[in-house]
Every structure is written in structure tokens, then in C-alpha cells.
């Protein structure tokens, strides 16, 4: 994209402001000159994801141990250890649930507008069977928490969540619900709704685009589908490709 006149002006002005003394601070690259990236051997810092930054094998083996342990055989996600063996019928039920996720008609703040936008004509959430925004929590499957959660609203929200019948899922939409967002420093907000209730899918963004919410709901559908019986093949968690 071409630089706008205003942008050029502000850039020049920024340089002027930051270096009032002289020309030394101004970097002037000659055309054709490839400035060099800084490469320093990594001695002190341990990578967050060894697989993604280095080609060496993972040093963290706890996940693999966990996958081979007895814990992985049962669904310990929310309902505790399952005392039944999942069968094909459960898979069918999961498929059914996945394709009929009714959200609760509940919005807290700004993200509620984008949540509505996700359900309207342009980005039609109904295509996945997520249409009837049920007004009563008794008939809803998904609680989309859209907007800043304040301390005063926390009680009613948890109550709503507890009024929903199982099985139920929660989607945290927007930065404020994920972690407090731009109101993190406020005295009256809760820094992330996972402090007060369990969350299945986080949709970041301030606010996220409607497609973002739909993507989150699709992920939730995947989560519902793969909840049982498929644990080793589909680990839940950030899934970063190896060559990032």
C-alpha cells in the first residue's frame, strides 16, 4: 500500500521529535542496501515451544507420558472420570450435539453487537444450526459471553451458567472475557471469565470479527465431536505447526 501523505509527515515528525539533537539517530538506508537482521546465539533463553523454534526433539515429555498413561483413557474434562465405555452411539450423539448448538441470547457489552452480526445475514451462523438464540437458559447449549464482565455482573452470569442444563459449553468472546482486555486495570472488572466459570473456547479480538466467532463455534463443534473416544489422535491445546 502506498504511503499516505499524512503518514509520511508523521513519520518524519516522529524522527524529529525523538532525536532533537542531530542527524545521527536518523537511519538512512541507501536504495539496494539490505540491512541486516541481528543474530545472536541463544544461550540464556529457553524456547516456549521447543519444536517450533528448534529442530531438536522435544525436551518436554510429560504430554507423551500422559498420553500413554491411564488418565488418557477416560474423559476427565469436565464431568470427571467417565464410568461408562463410549460406544458408537455416543459418537452419534456427539455428532448430533455438534450440529445443533443453540446459543443463549445474552450479551454483556460491545462484543454482543458483533455476536449479533455473526447471526445475521452477512455471516450466517445458522448455517451450522446455531440459530435459535434461545432467550431462556434452560433451552440453550452454549453460553457466549460477549463483553466485559464486571464484578457486579459476575454473580448473575454464573447463575445463568448454572441454570443451563448439561451438556453445556461456554465460549469466551473478546479480549475482556478472555483476560480482562483493555479494562484489565479497572477496579470493577473481572480479568477473564475463567476466574469464575469454565471456558471451552476463547475467541480473542477487540472485538473479534464475526467470522472469528463463527470459527470459535466451529472449533467448539469439533471439541464436542471429539470429546470422547478420540483423545490420543486429537490432543486439545495450542497446535502450532512444526515449522513456524
Amino acid at each position: 500500500m502506498a504511503m499516505t501523505p499524512g503518514g509520511a509527515e508523521t513519520a518524519a515528525q516522529a524522527a524529529e521529535d525523538s532525536a532533537p539533537g542531530g542527524e545521527a539517530a536518523l537511519v538512512k538506508a541507501a536504495p539496494g542496501d539490505v540491512s541486516s537482521p541481528i543474530i545472536v546465539p541463544n544461550t540464556l533463553w529457553t524456547s516456549a515451544r521447543p519444536n517450533s523454534y528448534e529442530s531438536t526433539a522435544a525436551r518436554f515429555t510429560h504430554l507423551r507420558e500422559l498420553e500413554h498413561s491411564d488418565l488418557m483413557l477416560s474423559d476427565t474434562a469436565r464431568w470427571g472420570q467417565l464410568e461408562v465405555i463410549p460406544t458408537k452411539a455416543d459418537l452419534i450423539i456427539d455428532l448430533i450435539r455438534m450440529n445443533s448448538l443453540w446459543p443463549l441470547l445474552s450479551g454483556l457489552a460491545c462484543c454482543a453487537i458483533e455476536m449479533m452480526s455473526a447471526a445475521t445475514s452477512k455471516n450466517d451462523m445458522d448455517r451450522w444450526g446455531m440459530f435459535p438464540f434461545r432467550a431462556s437458559p434452560r433451552q440453550a447449549d452454549v453460553l457466549i459471553v460477549a463483553g466485559t464482565l464486571t464484578t457486579k455482573m459476575a454473580g448473575p452470569l454464573v447463575r445463568l451458567w448454572e441454570q443451563m442444563p448439561e451438556p453445556k459449553w461456554c465460549v469466551a468472546m473478546g479480549d475482556c472475557t478472555c483476560s480482562g482486555g483493555r479494562y484489565k486495570r479497572s477496579y470493577s472488572t473481572i480479568e477473564g471469565i475463567d476466574r469464575v466459570m469454565p471456558v471451552d473456547v476463547y475467541v480473542p479480538g477487540c472485538p473479534p470479527r464475526p467470522e472469528g466467532l463463527i470459527y470459535g463455534m466451529m472449533k467448539l463443534g469439533q471439541l464436542v465431536k471429539e470429546r470422547r473416544g478420540h483423545w490420543p489422535e486429537h490432543p486439545i491445546g495450542p497446535n502450532v505447526p512444526q515449522d513456524v
Partner: protein, 413 residues
């Protein structure tokens, strides 16, 4: 390495005081759970013959957010009501007082999330007054242009919500199509769909680009026609008109006494518009009418609804003029990066889609304001609710509430 698996919820035990036993759940919850503190409370929380409380909200489909209204009803009739606020109180004013002047723009943006640009406009104007900044004329035109676009989007949403609260499913979807076009257009120039963070002290963040102009041209070519088609679904609908007429009538005196502004006061017959009464930006150079509705007795819900539709037509006119008269030039004034205005105070008000939105700033000479106060129109209009809803039916509460068009973000700040 494997940590023991902890169950999420502790196993309930009778000793735990946090856990409510089944026997206790069956009892009525007292409303409120404390003895009355004022005379008003004592009066309100005393039930007459055949009356009962109906707690509407904070999560209710038509309270426009998280407002809670305790209704005292007798059958279907609302005898009395008590709005409870604060479910969206985020402490915006205090956050702004702890941010530097540039940062305030992004802090105040989601205050009233339907019309964010106006939330930026008022503080930016106040800071410009405080620092004696001359804004380039092109920047002013861009502000007016984007602001009026957003006003149309906001009024479109109002129309949809109005219908939704009266039980119509379809109009809100047509409104959202219109609104989506506008916000995508604004995203092309500001970079975001809702919380734009576009206005800067001394101008705007970036110049209008080709993408925006082409989208705007597309939209302008069919805006008026589309608007008329969409409103045709409701405007002549007998059910709609009968539900809105003579409901929630605000007379002139009440409107003046309660400090009502914006479309709500214009619907009551008083042509008060900040853009004309206290001109700012380049509005004096633009031609537009201030639509007024309502007879001598004031305006009802239908007047407020129709007036907003009139405003959309005026906004389209303003946009047209802006596009023709916009000068070339810079969009940003030359300003220091770190702002330390002189000690002083400034007030600036803009005409937001909901009325007069103002900010009051006191500077103590540092890079953060000493005091930062917000005047929000929705908060003022919510005071009318108690007056208008009384002695109406439960269904009318929705019509009245929707016609006042409050946004809880602005009310609770």
C-alpha cells in the same frame, strides 16, 4: 511430571457455608435482601393487593444490555418500577484519568459501542481546546464524514432493535446488512469494525484511501433506495404503528426539565441539535435540516422512531456535501509526541446519535488529565423510563425502552 488431576468443583458438603442446600433454595428470595434504607425503597418494596415483583434483567432479551429493572406489576400492568444500574460499570473515567492523553482515545472508545467515533470525538475536541490545536480542515471533513456514516449505522441498528423488541424478526437482519456495509467501509479507513480508534488529537489517524472511497461510492448509489425499502417493512405496518402510538409520550416541559437531548428532544418538538446550537467542526458550512417531530403535547415512541429515520436522510445529505466540498491537505496537525497541556479545563460536546455527548477535562500540567468526566445522553434518557413506563403494560416497557435507544455501556460508564 504428571500433576494430579483435580476435580473442578469441590465435592459438596453440608458444612460448607458457600453451598446452598436444597431446603434453602425453596424459600423465596427477598427483594431486596436488606431492610429498606430510604422512604422510596420502603414504598417501592411494599406490595399492594394483587401485585407482584417481576425482576427483568440483568440478562433479559430486551433490556439492551445488562440493565436490571424491578417491575411491580398488577396483572399485566406495571404499577411501579426500579431500575438498577451498574452491571456494566467498567470505571472508564478513572481509567482515563490514569492514561495519557493519546491513550484516552482508545480507552473511551468502547464506552458506547454502537457509536464509537463520537466517543472519540468529544474528548479529542476537549484536548484540542486545552492545547490550542488547529485541526486541518480536511481532517474535520473526514471526521464529519465518518461520523455521519456511523450515525446512519447506529440508527439502522436502532430500527432493527425497535422491531425486535416488538417481536419482529426480520427488520433487524435488514438493518444489520446496512450496518455491516458501513462498518466494513469504515474498517477500510480506520482498521477496525467497531472500536475504531481513529480520531487523534489534531486530526485523524490516516487519510481516506481508495478502498474506502470505492466502497462509499457503491453504497451511496443505493443508500437512499435501500433505506426507503427497509423502512417500508415497518413504517406502514398497522400492528407496529398501533403499538408505538401514544406510548411513552414525553412533553416539552418534561424533556427540558430532565435534560433530554438528541433525537428524543427533537421528537418532543424542540429543535435542539448540538451541531446547530453549539456549532463545532465544519458543521456551520454544511447544509442540513434539523428534523423535528411531535406536536404541542410532545412526542411519543412513534415520533422518536420516525425522527431517527428522518435523520438518516439528513445524514446522507451531509455525506454527499462532504464528498463534494472536502479540501485537500494534511489530516494531522504537527504536535509533540508527549502532550503536556497547560493547567486548565475544557468542555466539549458533540451530537452523538443518542444526543449530547460531552467530556469535561481538567489538566494539571502533567501528561495525564487530573479529572476526566463524561456526560452521556443515554444516562439522562434512562431517567425518563420510570416516568414513562408507569401505568403501562409490560409489553410497552419494551417499546418505550427501545424508542429511547439507550446503550448500557454509556449509562454505566
Amino acid at each position: 511430571m504428571t500433576a494430579p488431576v483435580q476435580p473442578h468443583y469441590p465435592h459438596p458438603s453440608a458444612d460448607d457455608p458457600r453451598i446452598m442446600l436444597d431446603a434453602q433454595i425453596g424459600q423465596y428470595e427477598q427483594v431486596p435482601p436488606y431492610p429498606p434504607r430510604t422512604e422510596r425503597e420502603a414504598e417501592f418494596y411494599t406490595l399492594g393487593d394483587g401485585e407482584m415483583f417481576l425482576n427483568m434483567g440483568p440478562q433479559h432479551p430486551s433490556t439492551h444490555g445488562v440493565l436490571r429493572v424491578v417491575l411491580k406489576i398488577n396483572g399485566e400492568k406495571v404499577v411501579d418500577l426500579d431500575p438498577v444500574l451498574g452491571y456494566l460499570h467498567r470505571g472508564v473515567e478513572k481509567l482515563c484519568e490514569n492514561s495519557d492523553y493519546h491513550h484516552i482515545i482508545s480507552q473511551i472508545d468502547p464506552l458506547e459501542y454502537v457509536s464509537s467515533l463520537f466517543m472519540e470525538w468529544a474528548p479529542v475536541m476537549a484536548f484540542e481546546k486545552l492545547m490550542d490545536v488547529q485541526v486541518p480542515r480536511r481532517a474535520e471533513y473526514i471526521r464529519v464524514l465518518t461520523g455521519e456514516l456511523l450515525r446512519i449505522a447506529s440508527h439502522a441498528l436502532f430500527q432493527g432493535w425497535m422491531a425486535l423488541d416488538l417481536g419482529g424478526l426480520t427488520p433487524i437482519l435488514y438493518s444489520f446488512i446496512e450496518r455491516d456495509e458501513i462498518v466494513e467501509m469504515l474498517a477500510a479507513v480506520t482498521g477496525q469494525r467497531m472500536l475504531f480508534n481513529y480520531f487523534r488529537i489534531g486530526g485523524v489517524n490516516g487519510d481516506l484511501n481508495h478502498e474506502f472511497m470505492s466502497r462509499l461510492g457503491d453504497w451511496m448509489s443505493r443508500a437512499a433506495v435501500q433505506h426507503e425499502a427497509n423502512i417500508g417493512l415497518l413504517n406502514e405496518n398497522e400492528i407496529f404503528v398501533r403499538r408505538m402510538r401514544d406510548i411513552g409520550r414525553v412533553d416539552r416541559d418534561t424533556a427540558l426539565r430532565m435534560g433530554v437531548t438528541g433525537p428524543n428532544i427533537r421528537a418532543a418538538g424542540i429543535p435542539f441539535d448540538v451541531r446547530r446550537a453549539h456549532p463545532y467542526s465544519v458543521y456551520p458550512e454544511l447544509e442540513f435540516n434539523v428534523p423535528v417531530r411531535g406536536s404541542n403535547g410532545g412526542g411519543d415512541s412513534l415520533d422518536r422512531y420516525l425522527l431517527r429515520l428522518d435523520e438518516v436522510r439528513e445524514s446522507i445529505r451531509i455525506i454527499d456535501q462532504c464528498l463534494h466540498e472536502m479540501p485537500d491537505g494534511p489530516v494531522m496537525a504537527r504536535l509533540p509526541r508527549l502532550m503536556r497541556p497547560r493547567p486548565g479545563r475544557a468542555w466539549a460536546a458533540v451530537e452523538s446519535p443518542r444526543g449530547l455527548f460531552g467530556t469535561y477535562v481538567i489538566s494539571d500540567g502533567t501528561d495525564q488529565p487530573f479529572r476526566f468526566r463524561i456526560h452521556d445522553p443515554s444516562f439522562v434518557h434512562l431517567q425518563l423510563v420510570g416516568m414513562l413506563m408507569k401505568d403501562n403494560l409490560i409489553a410497552d416497557t419494551m417499546a418505550v425502552m427501545a424508542s429511547l435507544d439507550p446503550v448500557m455501556g454509556g449509562i454505566d460508564k
